[in-house]
């Protein structure tokens, strides 16, 4: 596959990098979303535990979907609702057009509905001469401006008050002052007659309840209340995955959605509609109709696809786009088709086709953060890897991605030819050539290779004697083996001093780059091989300790999914530990506390690698440093440093340039923090931070001169 396919993607990235006014607004909005969510979770009994409940409910309901859908339909019909099952967008559109014609509708008032956007319902209605008016303020602004939403929850976040005032001046033909209260008054007076005269109200629904045949619609503005109560006909378009079993399930979704989106519990208005209420008394009161269109549009196929099924757990909260590092720079117009952000890649593949998803899936740097914030714990990183994989099967891999996937082989070669390879890496003209030919960013200072690898040195070292407490398999991965064996050996020493028998049995690299770029055949092969090589040791009582955060993540989180829950991978996952969490535990158990003054006087800023978040969140290393007297501050923007594993090693827009734009806010935080050095466990984050801040960056072990 050539990179021509990505020409327009490159252009949009370039535009976003040149003018960051929009992305500054967007990032402010994303941060607000994350902060308010975090604040709400403080108040919510059980905190993040609700994610487990949402996940379990969604698993159950999607498993039983065909039956629940039927029960929903039966119960809704009993209450007088007219239910239609639409195969796809065209089918749903035809139904709406017919209905509008039949009822002689001239005005349709809409409340925000992503599902109607999914099938682009507005256009055909407008073509049929019907006035379709969005009533959600953000959507209305976007509609009047003739644009597409920039953010799922705040569609018009990129428009400031003066621009909005201008849009309404143009629309209403009267001058509108550019303060928000004045704009609100104009909006209210502009929309009120539309609400009052609309013959049809069109909404989506957040939940369908099988038990009762009712739907729940959430809004903050109250527009859905008006849209659903004013006209003589209400149409609700609902994706079939929104159907849950019970009222308890519905209550859970109605809470999880706004908590994750904006830290509310719940939204201001939640309308639980059943049947179609009469309006007032007298003959006309009873003439009202209520229609529910249940949309398939690819969902049945998603449900039957083991790697895509989880997308159906999505409750459209937008939290994943509040944390996605690259989305924050380029925004939803670039990082999305109709559905934006991380879930946008998965849903675009499901409902708009693999090809469309493949057009922007390369923006995902596989940091994994979306999964960690998602209320349904949807494994988007895996799904996106699978999408890249399927897309590559049809269109081929980008050359530079093939190069990055082969990084372990390159490292082996680099170490075998160390003096030469290092001379190449250090030569400016050759690096320029390398960028041109294979896409490796010339700007990067890369760690040199060593001729004598960790594996070789470990095998040669004298066997230590000590009192044995535990058996440990040390998992090395690429960097400690080919670039920094001293670091690997220091880790082994630290383990041994605390009474571990450390072995380094035959093992492969972690293989994460294959996941990141969608080389799923190879990723699966490596996952199976490492699982079957290491699981027998676990059965014999060994724990597995990994020094590289991404390797720990691969073993603990990715392998069980890649092997479809194999027993061996599960065992390995359960017994995989990060180095420092393990060392701390040993210190506690043996009572061998370290010298509490070793690092006194040091002020350190800790950077948590994204892949550590679902593991210990970096607490192990931070604790370990604090036990030695260092003052450690966790410095974070709440998202990624931009390196994204090897993403930032690639040259150009879809690599180095974007990675710098993602990292800049974090570089600024570190520079302003007053710490005397940065500490991180990740070998790649460390390159990014050293270059971005010009500060010293250490691995925790390096601080004790242990390396």
């Amino acid at each position: 596959m050539t990179s021509q396919r990505y020409t327009s993607l490159y252009q949009s990235i370039e535009a976003a990098l040149e003018d960051h006014s929009k992305s500054d607004l967007l990032r402010g909005c994303m941060k607000r979303g994350r902060d308010t969510r975090a604040a709400a979770l403080e108040e919510l009994p059980g905190g993040v535990a609700f994610r487990g409940d949402v996940r379990a409910a969604k698993e159950r309901c999607i498993e039983a979907l065909p039956e629940l859908k039927q029960r929903f339909i039966d119960n809704a019909r009993k209450r007088g609702t007219i239910v239609y099952e639409a195969r796809d967008g065209a089918d749903a559109i035809a139904y709406c057009l017919n209905l509008a014609r039949h009822r002689g509708a001239r005005v349709i008032a809409k409340s925000k509905s992503l599902t109607t956007e999914e099938i682009d319902l507005n256009q055909p209605l407008i073509k049929a001469g019907i006035d379709v008016v969005e009533t959600d303020l953000g959507e209305l602004i976007i509609q009047l401006a003739g644009e597409k939403p920039f953010h799922l929850v705040f569609p018009s976040i990129h428009k400031m008050a003066p621009e909005v005032a201008e849009i309404f001046s143009r629309t209403t033909g009267q001058a509108v002052a550019d303060d928000i209260p004045s704009i609100m008054k104009v909006v209210r007076t502009y929309l009120r007659p539309i609400f009052l005269k609309a013959e049809i109200g069109l909404t989506g629904a957040n939940v369908g309840i099988a038990e009762t045949g009712g739907i729940c619609i959430e809004t903050n503005e109250g527009n859905a209340r008006l849209v659903s109560s004013l006209g003589s006909c209400h149409i609700c378009l609902i994706g079939m995955e929104k159907i849950v079993e019970t009222i308890e399930d519905a209550l859970l979704m109605v809470l999880a959605h706004p908590v994750s989106a904006s830290g509310q519990l719940p939204t201001n208005y939640v309308t639980w509609m059943h049947g179609r209420s009469p309006l007032g008394e007298g003959a006309a009161a009873e003439e009202r109709e209520s229609h529910i269109i249940i949309l398939d549009n690819g969902r049945t196929a998603m449900r039957g696809d083991a790697d895509m099924r989880e997308a159906l757990y999505c409750i459209r909260c937008g939290a994943c786009m509040n944390i996605c590092p690259t989305y924050g720079v380029v925004g939803g117009h670039t990082f999305g088709y109709i559905y934006p952000g991380p879930m946008g890649i998965c849903w675009t593949a499901g409902v708009h086709g693999l090809e469309r998803a493949g057009d922007f899936a390369q923006l995902c740097i596989s940091c994994g953060l979306c999964k960690e914030i998602c209320p349904a714990k949807i494994n988007m990183p895996h799904m996106i890897a699978e999408i890249k994989h399927r897309d590559a099967a049809a269109n081929g891999h980008l050359l530079v991605n093939r190069v990055m996937m082969g990084a372990d082989r390159a490292a082996r070669l680099g170490s075998a030819t160390a003096p030469l390879a290092n001379a190449v890496l250090a030569s400016k003209p050759l690096r320029a050539l390398l960028e041109k030919t294979i896409g490796l960013a010339a700007e990067r200072t890369l760690p040199p290779f060593v001729a004598s690898t960790f594996m070789r040195r470990f095998a040669k070292r004298p066997k230590p004697t000590f009192e044995l407490i535990r058996n440990v398999v040390f998992f090395v991965d690429v960097y400690a083996n080919y670039n920094n064996p001293d670091l690997g050996l220091a880790a082994v020493d630290a383990l041994e001093r605390l009474g571990c028998k450390v072995i380094v049995p035959n093992q492969e690299v972690s293989g994460y780059p294959y996941i990141a770029y969608g080389g799923m055949d190879q990723a699966r092969r490596i996952a199976r091989r490492n699982s079957s090589k290491l699981a027998p040791w676990v059965r014999r009582g060994y724990d597995v300790v990994a020094i590289e955060p991404t390797a720990a993540y691969a073993l603990a989180v990715s392998y069980p999914v890649l092997t479809r829950g194999s027993e061996e991978a599960r065992l390995l996952s359960e017994h995989t530990f990060e180095l420092f969490e393990y060392l701390n535990r040993l210190e506690d158990e043996t009572g061998q506390s370290p010298d509490p003054e070793l690092l006194t006087g040091r002020r350190l800023g800790f950077h948590c690698a994204c892949h550590q978040r679902p593991l210990g969140g970096g607490r192990g290393a931070v604790d370990w440093l604090r036990r030695r007297g260092a003052a450690v501050e966790l410095i974070e923007t709440g998202t990624c440093c931009g390196m994204g594993g090897t993403f930032g090693l690639k040259g150009g827009l879809l690599g180095y340039d974007l990675s710098q734009a993602v990292g800049q806010p974090l570089f600024d935080l570190f520079s302003a923090s007053g710490v005397d050095a940065i500490v991180t466990e990740s070998s790649v984050c460390s390159i990014q931070l050293a270059e971005g801040t010009a500060m010293r960056v250490y691995h925790p072990l390096e601080l004790l001169n242990l390396v």
Binding site: T135, D136, F154, I157, E221, L226, S229, L279
Partner: protein
Amino acid sequence: MAFDFASRFEKLSGIVHRVGSEAAAAATIAQICQTSQAGCIALAGLSSTLVALIKEACEQTCPELSILTEPYAAADLPLAIDRADIGVTGISFAIAQSGTMVEVADNDALRLVSSLPRIHIGLLRAEDIIEHYHDSAGRIRATIADHPENLVLSFISGPSRTGDIELKLTLGVHGPEEAHCVIIDAAA
């Protein structure tokens, strides 16, 4: 519990009034009509006793006020209710943890009374406050079972709000910009 509900509802920019009797509730409503210089008020979902009390209180404090009451003729809707500055509706129950009033309607005239006017006042009895959000399932289930056909339950947690322009919280874009809850609590 009334306290928990009140503090949560107020956090969401709602306004709470705690009164000891239905008559006091009616007086409070009349008071709100007066301060907000309302010309027209619409009532729905209230007992006939309450309607009578509110009429009586309003006649004393604001004699000019026109008072709309059920039944609403279908032919006049929705325009009739759009005239009202204030809508008063009965609240079936409330959830303290989330500051939510739950309104139960089997006729949309009631929904219009709480959603079209600039000010909405919900009338709630203290004994109808449930503490925990998730404990509302039973009450919701019973209500839905009581209505085998149409029924709309509305969760209302404060006034209509948006953050769509510059993320700045703004009230009353479509629905009420003031949301009051009058709690009748014999212990108050």
